[in-house]
Amino acid sequence: MTVIETIVEILSWFFMVSGSIFVLIGAIGTLRFPDFWSRLHAVSITESAGMILLIIGMCLQAGPTLITVKLLLIGIFLFLTGPTSTHAVADAALVTGLRPPESEGLKAEKLDEDDNG
């Protein structure tokens, strides 16, 4: 194993392990946070930091092959579909009347009648 291969291997494992840690943090947040709306934010850590770091790590493992191109395509598609699904879940919650709890000293923007679905 040459020096460069060793460096790539170390970097790849660094990215994959840190990505896994962020996935774990997202899971911990989902369990710890008190309600639906804050849990949505915990999941978004898994979906952004965890996903990006894991894909970078896997790309380094695959090297300059077709697999890397596919992994990058998966990353691009996740970047488009992730926010869309999050938005769909959040909007569905709002339509069914689940209001986010407001912290002290803050007032939610007034919602229109049609926001109640």
Binding site: I25, I28, R32, F33, I45, L73, P83, A90, L106, E109
Partner: protein, 160 residues
């Protein structure tokens, strides 16, 4: 002309995805591309909806670089909240003014807000977004306005 372009893009995607170049698989790819084109044309006849990319690729690349930095910062902020024993959550639902003219620009701005952990675009109301923040601070208005200006700068003229 447009049909040939669609065929080429679909077929190139197939070749990229498959990685096995035997005559049968390439033939299947060509058949699949032609069938997709047929479906697309049929759908076009129904609603005729299409849009052009009104984005400057160079400025968009610059935006992506800046945006990645934002994602890292936001991830770190939410990670600290998750792991801190007291969990300093300060939830707030607020409206963000939107200045993009094109649908694509609005989509990019809404997705950018949702992709940065800590903020989620809940609903689009005409020229404003309803945004939910995990730990709201007064700086958030300035931060979203800054992102809004950057996305608008990526748009090219001719937006409807």
């Amino acid at each position: 002309m447009r049909n040939i372009g669609v065929i080429i893009i679909l077929f190139a995607l197939w070749l990229l995805m498959s990685g096995i170049y035997t005559p049968m698989l390439i033939g299947l790819g060509l058949a699949a591309s032609l069938f997709s084109l047929y479906i697309v044309r049929r759908m076009d006849a129904v609603d005729g909806a299409r849009f052009s990319l009104q984005m400057s690729p160079i400025r968009y690349s610059g935006y992506i670089v800046w945006f990645m930095g934002e994602v890292v910062r936001a991830n770190w902020a939410v990670t600290k909240i998750v792991l801190s024993p007291k969990m300093p959550i300060k939830q707030h639902l607020f409206l963000v003014p939107v200045t993009q003219k094109t649908e694509l620009g609005k989509m990019l701005f809404a997705n950018s807000i949702t992709l940065t952990p800590g903020t989620i675009t809940v609903r689009v109301k005409d020229d404003r977004f309803l945004v939910h923040a995990l730990s709201f601070s007064q700086d958030d208005h300035a931060a979203t306005a800054d992102m809004d200006a950057r996305v608008t700068a990526c748009e090219t003229e001719g937006g409807k």
